[in-house]
Symmetry: T
Subunit: 69 residues, 12 copies
């Protein structure tokens, strides 16, 4: 069996709703162009503030997917 090789790309998902929604947005956008997405790893959680409230969350994450060898 040949060995599998994976690639990781770094995305920033955003959401006005929350952290899980920002992760889901990044994963869904990535899945439009990448097959075989397998896992994600959160790198940073940040966000913008407007008028004393969180306006949107920004979640930096790595997304791992298998490369068709």
């Amino acid at each position: 069996m040949p060995s599998r090789v994976y690639k990781k790309v770094e995305l920033v998902g955003t959401s006005t709703v929350g952290i899980e929604d920002a992760i889901q947005n990044a994963v869904e956008t990535a899945s439009k162009t990448l097959n075989n997405i397998d896992w994600f790893e959160v790198q940073e959680v940040r966000g913008h503030v407007q008028d004393g409230k969180v306006a949107h969350y920004q979640v930096v994450l790595k997304i791992g997917f298998r490369i068709e060898a």
Copy 2:
């Protein structure tokens, strides 16, 4: 145009509800005394446990705001 300068302060927001609520609590408290808050960066997520349940979340975050030069 003179260059903008920003300051970052480190707060710990707490919440019995969840991580986003703890962030929001810190941002709202900061906005009572600081103008021009622009962004936040989560540093750590911790919390206290009582009777085998999460009693409250503690989110350490930095809050960035523009300084009036």
Copy 3:
């Protein structure tokens, strides 16, 4: 008064619902065998992806509890 000593163990909670639920699952599982759990510290947030959606969240956390001296 003798000094207190605490121990920290590292767990990975998982959940199909979200990050707080994964934390709560780890805390509840730990509390079945450990008394005196006092706090948790999130180390990493990761997860698995299936069919372009987050299938479950994996939260690596440390759980601190007082040792009976």
Copy 4:
């Protein structure tokens, strides 16, 4: 019950005596202007050397205190 919010400030305590004394100096100085100091976290231990001996210790620490909401 409204959620508590804490602030962390970064100080450098110095002492010719030792590390604990440098911590104590920073904590005492901070307590002159801040109420509700609750904890400290050591970030770095450094120092100056003169004539082949430690002349003074410099302890970089964060000091956390509750904000009156």
Copy 5:
């Protein structure tokens, strides 16, 4: 001789010119309200891009100053 205590604050200096200019802008802005500034430590160098060119540099730095005890 009483021990000296220093405080560190975190600023973000910006400049269209370069990294040293962004540092200098942050230091100058800080010196309008703080006496006894003694040193700085660069934490991050970032910037914004417009039309394929660096539009401005953002240097996150800590600024250390002696506290009047």
Copy 6:
């Protein structure tokens, strides 16, 4: 409004002139194939030495750009 998603790629810009020039070279090269470049984050500054002088600077940086969803 659908949520924006960004991607970060890691480049190494080089220059015989200096750090800002190496950053600019990486940004310009990236902008030939990527639209919507928005920001950069310096990761490392290194370089090669020849005959006791800096021969060129190598700046490792991440470049962030909006993905067309």
Copy 7:
């Protein structure tokens, strides 16, 4: 000769006296239940403050011991 294997556990020693005493308290507590303790590694130094003074030190450390294979 079979290869030795060691385990590391993470403890938090506390003391009203100082950092070395907190380390010693953790080591002594660990040695009540673990044989063959060989070394420790300090991870963090923190503490609680009451009335403008350090009330107790908290030293997070790892303790390494040989496993009976």
Copy 8:
């Protein structure tokens, strides 16, 4: 389906042969007392030197296993 919870323990495997052998020694020793071991993560590679040669390798690793809920 109830959520799975995993635990991570930190071991140090040693070997006179090489890094993979040290990992394997730690994994085998752990598997004598732990069921359901699933993965490992290398933390550090170190070793002892005698007479100008590597006498043995020491690999610090975390071992993850599913907890029977």
Copy 9:
């Protein structure tokens, strides 16, 4: 001479044999689609365990290659 620019991509090579073989697998897979690969940097060494033995190694590495300007 125009300045060279390099790109770094993050891959995960796997192998049942060992760490060097996992690195080689990632490098070979990358070289099928990338020209001018110049260097690699290991980020993490992990692996899966089955029946008390290392089933395969997973080496996360960055691969650097020159971009055709």
Copy 10:
């Protein structure tokens, strides 16, 4: 005025007494062969344990000194 250049060397001081004594031992040993020692920076605090007690402290530190240009 020509610019000053400093060098940093990494030492491990040991002591049966405590952390400050281990630092002092390293500084004194370094000062036998190095002039112009100016500062130290603690990197790690570790130690050996025998019979359930700290046998000696090991402090890894960097020592900075001015180079005679």
Copy 11:
């Protein structure tokens, strides 16, 4: 062909002019006593402030050179 071995030393270059000049000062000073210097890696950028202006930059860097085997 015997394998090459390199050594890295840590220096602090200073300059009143800027970061590149501080790097160049450290490289030039090192090249007076070391042959075969090949590369440098910036570790930290700091500096001193006087009268609200940057008085000099301090760049901590590692310098790598081939050892004559």
Copy 12:
């Protein structure tokens, strides 16, 4: 008994064969000029690639040895 003091130097061993061989090359080269080498700590594993294959491994490591006081 006077306290022992150790020094750590940073080397880069290279090898066309593998990681352990690169470590061994660095240790052997160091032992030609240093007595009392006691341990090593791997800092980074990198390498060069030629024609889609690993051309040689570069292992950055620290080597610790006792100083004759």
